[in-house]
Symmetry: D2
Subunit: 388 residues, 4 copies
């Protein structure tokens, strides 16, 4: 790597933005058990404070996604001010139509029109909150689906879904968009109403440019080539962003890059090659930690994305294109792997120092004493968690 | 089918025994939401009452598995008497070493000896409860495992597991056994300490005849041939029983036979062919219903196992063996499918009438008014559920 | 089932049409070994003769798909006449751009424009053959893809694919269409250029109404809900047809309905419910038998589709809709399963007799002596097989 | 890394031995097409010559596995001498009971005793060849299995398998062993008779110390944790070795480390941690290249194993153990990842120079002109390939 090549890469890395989710700072778990941790935030204000720590030590995580109703407050302007004071901003608004008793058999695809109406009202309320917080992105995930063959009409549920999405789309302001999420399974176990990228894509194409697909890296069937999807959606102008996390078999909350760092590198390569490495693409973490300490888990995840990005930026695109043109299978693969096999941590340490940060964010956070402070101070109240 | 052939099959079906789990009658859900239902039991006594309904209408579900500590009572003799009055008995004792805060990183395989000691004490306590309830079967499921590579030492955890199992084995009485469960994933997401039948088998072989493997039909990797495992374990004398349920991708709580009834038939065929259709093999349901009404969900599941068994009994074994000997691929498959394609519901209806039961257990339960009674009467108190 | 209900169902079954593939009658195998069988056809004329046997005994398989160049003849009009004399017709034309040495790294997506040009010429030649045979359907399957990350540019290959598809689309006559096939993997092992329905769909939408998606039931990742895809494509007017076969883990040549008959029933239900049970939808077998006798393998497969269809027609749609509206999870599932659990073989036997056929096509074929004839007569020449 | 630490690691790497398979140098392909390559060997002598090139440039591949009957020669002593002259030795003998017409429905598990007898005779012949070549290892892979439920008796096939294995075991000399391979699927698609490690393990335990399990990294169901299996088999003293290759979904012939380099690192870590990094464990490549040039494909694969091993040796075991003991989830993972993220290529280049080799084996081979020589000289004759 030449010095000037290195500088170009550092320039690119310096403008990277990774959003962390407010819910990552609260307690979470599996259906078997939620293990409570010390120092967990009791309200959205404390969540933002924790998120600000991630930005403080990494320098690339300036926004925080909210989850409604978990992060409902009376005064969103005040919450936004609080964020600004902490050096962060409010990012995407995430809707929740899965935790009310009415949603047992679905929300916007529920057979009962009254439930659908209620769910839609919530989605529209989320756009209201976008207006008030200045957020430009609504993330829509639906737990809707069925557990048994015959339980409900697969096709009618698509009609209902289309209707709800159209109503939300209509409500969006000029500078707002929504990102539509898909997921193979869970909590619905026979069908989900948005099981794959194709379904999300088809709905978004019909709606228009303000509807885009979000790729959650943990939401695919085994054997799915995620970077292909990324390349394809970018070609179609429909990649809105990422929910990053990782999984071995079927969780979607492990730290991004922890299960298959090579896959994350391949994804970031397609992002860059496809012109998606811009602020139009939302790079978000969507992962809750069951056994990991919360803030360090997010810091490590941000670093993992940075490292994959640095490696992807390192790919010698000219050499790669030449080998590809010649049908040199091993040569092209070697160019690709050369970038992946490079240890980019020194480069990132250097960049951090140039940005006035500690070269080792994990160690710096550990030394900061922040955890001891929150563990001591956050006593009483109710710890935030899924469902609260 | 000749009349005498039919009678033989009915005789076999008449002696079938399927155990239902106490926890199926309480609330359960996914990590996203537990939807509470009306009429749910508040204590083990009420759970037994509900289980007795399943037996009342099916005639083949006379035992109920308990889960400790969820079903802890002061006086187990009293609980057993209560069961007897309801016409049922207490079946397998299920241990729980996954819901205490100490078990975040494991129970019997935890790196900390103090936690391991506590977990072992619980397992031994479960044997005490077996002594007091007269139960002869302990079911051991461990949520133990790791979420990240390097998190703990895979091999050391096997040593710790072996140590705990040996201690429990040692404690078993002459007429007691334990069934060791394996599971591919969840709640541990990188490794589980008992991920597959091979691991459970290897531990059981070393321990001796009182340790056997239990096959949970929902706990395998995609593409796994479960009936092969059943055939193999029976050949080795190590099949202790089943935890029945079904799944499409990755739940393990849908009604048995709901996702792939053909698979259930193939499993029951291997049970019968391998000499496992005896009371030595425990046929247990292990499924909790998130959106289904509890008691009907269990009744339907029992019926699904009955239907698969009836079809498996119908296989013309002589014709099958002849076709297999001749290498007649399509002929052998045709003999097998002929049994599967037969509608055995009339046969089962007939059998039920001969047993003094209503031919349609679902309809009979619905008509019985039991649900209205419990929905009305079970007010106040705390509904049973996972973790309670 | 009332007599009039039965008649309606028989009427529907009577007009069913299932196409068999010419290549199913030749030898095939795995990469490990092709086992040659007796009596295998030596040319397209003999393949049609065998296909005619399937129609003779089932009455619902009047068309035969051709594969070019395997079925190249000098005089297609003569071949068509030959078919007519046998009582069958030529169905879909299947292109082959995977068996020439030039296609090692792809055909229409190959990095070398000369190879792409050659591949496109073959596709256009297939349309010529459609003109000459009167076939209205071109089936496009591409083995194109890569084995290693970096081997070729994922996105550029999409551009090349789009270009080729547009050229073929342009060449289609007014009454012609193409069906675009997708496949998760094989023979490409890292990416295929058409890995899933979403990719095929997106290309087809851009091209127009003469481009439709074909669902090969064996081409999906584990856990994929195929009937959802069917329902969705029908809603979009983009389901062109099926390549039927089945698989447990990763073959796609077992007899349709053999691995998961319940899944086939669910698929056929969505076809009917979605208005796809018309002659606009091509119901094709695409399966080659490695160890099964060829003609009986096809007869059994046709029968399996018939049985699944009969069960799907049996679903009490009013009762189902009512249960779904009420959110009656178990009730709706029970209506659905009631149809699946019915033994429809007597109904089909009756129908066959009404159609002047033997009620048992497998037995009738076995008795016909056809196999002995071909085994005796087809001596010398080169047996047809993949690649010949 | 200290200089002395580095030296220890280099010492370990210097004694690494990786065996290449004779069949990797011939043509191979998928069921769709075998693409012939230039310069491919025409006989076992030429295969050994190619294998010697891999050793020449890597220094760690001194043995070559043979496949019988593909590598049958009249005079094995002569073949062994030829190998010695080339600087290599004959390694494991691989049996083949899948390519004779008799084996369509199985070999040692075939329903017909005559076929079983023939298959067993071949296996015993392989031991004869071991005697003559001095090979101490027999690798047993069986394609045996069934394609359809009911096709044959799952359990009877186990009895037949056990019988054949016992006969082979009996025949082994004092310093000989066999390695038993398992495979989830292919070419059998419903069941294989050795589908998983548990089955192979159970057979080997019964037979004794000369029977061990070989782990083919491409033969598992999705989601299987292979390093767990490695750790477990080492704990039981039953890990005989590896067949290395890689796959994304369902091939097993891509270059080892190409699909998931992190997984290969984790496997090598468990090998070392479990005491398996000795000459008792056979580290073999088992991969044939469809589109890659043969010799470079093997060189790259050897290098991939070396790099994974170097990283695994780098793990700071003391620091890891300390973090594990403390239950420091992120800390333990960080120690592990630190080794993985290190670029070990400079260390390996240094080692090669110390061994008198070119630091870049791929480039050195390319410069050597060997390929041009064989492409020119190997004209006429029949290229080696699967089945020849």
């Amino acid at each position: 790597m030449t010095e000037s090549g290195k500088n170009v890469i550092k320039q690119e890395l310096r403008r990277q933005r990774i959003e962390t989710p407010s819910w990552a700072y609260g307690n979470s778990g599996t259906r078997f058990k939620v293990f409570a941790q010390k120092g967990v935030p009791r309200d959205p204000y404390e969540k933002l404070a924790d998120a600000a720590q991630v930005h403080r030590f990494t320098g690339v995580a300036p926004t925080v996604a909210l989850h409604i109703p978990w992060d409902k407050v009376d005064d969103y302007a005040d919450l936004a001010r609080h964020a600004a004071e902490l050096g962060v901003r409010i990012g995407a608004i995430n809707s929740n139509v899965f935790q009310d008793d009415d949603y047992m058999l679905g929300s916007v695809t529920h057979p009962d029109p009254a439930v659908r109406k209620k769910a839609l009202a919530h989605l529209l309320e989320c756009v209201d909150i976008m207006d008030r917080t200045g957020s430009d992105t609504l993330k829509l995930w639906f737990s809707d689906g069925t557990n048994y063959p015959g339980q409900d009409d697969i096709r009618a549920r698509q009609d209902r879904l289309a209707e709800a999405l159209a109503a939300v789309y209509e409500r969006l302001g000029d500078d707002q968009r929504f990102l539509l999420e898909y997921k193979l399974f869970e909590p619905a176990f026979y069908t989900t109403d948005l099981p794959d990228w194709g379904t999300a894509y088809a709905h978004c194409v019909k709606l228009g440019p303000k509807a885009q697909v979000v790729v959650d890296t943990g939401h695919h069937a085994p054997g799915t080539n995620i970077e292909f999807i990324v390349a394809f959606l970018l070609r179609e102008g429909k990649l809105g962003g990422f929910d990053f996390n990782s999984r071995f078999y079927a969780d979607d909350d492990l730290m991004v890059g922890a299960a298959d760092p090579f896959q994350l590198f391949r994804i970031m390569y397609e992002v860059i090659r496809g012109g998606g490495y811009t602020e139009e693409t939302a790079f978000m973490l969507d992962q809750c930690h069951n056994i990991e300490p919360k803030i360090p888990g997010q810091i490590r995840s941000v670093m993992n994305v940075q490292e994959a990005t640095a490696k992807a930026l390192l790919v010698d695109r000219d050499a790669l294109a030449a080998a590809q043109r010649e049908g040199d299978v091993l040569g092209a693969n070697a160019v690709f792997m050369d970038a992946y096999n490079t240890d980019v941590r020194p480069l990132l340490a250097e960049l951090r120092e140039e940005m006035g940060l500690d070269p080792d964010p994990m160690a710096a956070y550990a030394r900061s004493g922040y955890f001891d402070t929150i563990a001591t101070e956050r006593v009483g109240g109710t710890q935030a968690g899924w469902g609260a």
